[in-house]
Subunit: 222 residues, 2 copies
């Protein structure tokens, strides 16, 4: 496992989140990328409840992850994945065509697929009791289903979006993995198999374990 | 104006969209980037109503823009902006810190700000008559307002997100410009001034004119 308190790459993550969010906070993405290439990283854990004031200077909305890579500060997990991809061709190919495919799919995950899952998360969890959420749910799941049908067609019989495994898959697998509960993957076996292929990778499992290990116990149980 | 039918960079755009969408289709972003650096481009115009079947092989959801840059195919305007940024430091600085700032802000536009505007577009236009949209509108505008408050704070007194003008501003200005109608900008003068600064650039105006010139007349009026 590449966590190392002296590593010059430091990932900021939360020290506690509610149960439903554990294993899904987006520092999982850079952790996964680091595990894939054996790049050591350290963590800075901050409170999600009382976010340090100086954190907003690094991340406009107080979110995680942010990284400090030997003095270089970045926010947004997509930008961080791109930065980590530049370090190793196993994450981002060096040839022009391969790079173009990966960045196209990387933005597809962040801008064409994840926004629908933000809405689904709202409807299914954060606003679940609200009248608008109940009324919105059917059309939203239909729209998301159509989006995923096209994604499944585009993936075709390939194992990974851009040919070889890449940062685009780290993004898309972690986006699609949030679809639990809505049957969206169960109805699309090739996408379900894609997500399973991603989450079965030892690097994903190590990243997941590392995120979970960093959470303090639930304060209610303390 | 750098449109040139023989240019090796070809941008695919729609040949017609309804009035409310004119000037807002996202091929505006690569057009703007090309205008900033004087990079000639040609256009391939396709129908938004009957999208050619082969277009889905280039863009999983049949959207625009896609580009063909001398044989290199890409989709997703964010990835295309990044690709164009690699051509000229006026769009994407060459130093490590500058590049990190620009890519962080580029993904912020695509993943932290634009998803809320997708929802607003839905509530204000596409689903405007639906009961869920009426019920959802107040909380959505409140969430978007909070997101923009933080953005305004993060922009501070700078002219551009990452210091100098960059592809991050092309993305964020075109995202924020979609806020018309919801008063979100009017309430935040520094953000409104930022959008005004962006849309006043000659390159933006040229890109806008070029997109508008490519639309066929409304079939109703034909």
């Amino acid at each position: 496992m590449p966590t190392d308190p002296d590593a010059p790459l430091r990932i900021t993550a939360f020290d506690w989140v509610p149960d439903f969010a554990r294993g899904y906070v987006r520092d999982l993405r850079p952790r996964w990328a680091c595990e894939e290439i054996g790049l050591p990283y350290s963590t800075r854990l901050i409170s999600a409840i009382d976010r340090p004031a100086d954190h907003y200077a690094r991340q406009p909305w107080g979110q995680v992850p942010v990284i400090d890579d030997d003095g270089l500060c970045m926010f947004e997990s997509g930008a961080i994945l791109l930065h980590l991809g530049e370090k190793d061709e196993r994450l981002l190919p060096r040839d022009r065509e391969g790079r173009a495919r990966v960045t196209s799919w990387l933005f597809a995950a962040y801008n064409s697929v994840e926004p629908l899952f933000f809405e689904i998360g709202n409807v299914e969890i954060f606003a679940a009791g609200k009248e608008w959420a109940k009324l919105r749910r059917p059309s939203l799941l239909e729209e998301a289903g159509q989006r995923l049908d096209r994604l499944e067609t585009a993936l075709g019989t390939r194992d990974w979006l851009a040919g070889e495994f890449s940062i685009a898959d780290i993004a898309m697998v972690t986006v699609l993995r949030d679809a639990t509960g809505a049957d969206l993957l169960e109805q699309r076996p090739r996408l379900a198999a894609y997500v399973e292929r991603g989450t079965s990778r030892p690097a994903f499992q190590a990243a997941l374990a590392a995120q979970l290990a960093d959470f303090r116990p639930d304060p209610v149980a303390a």
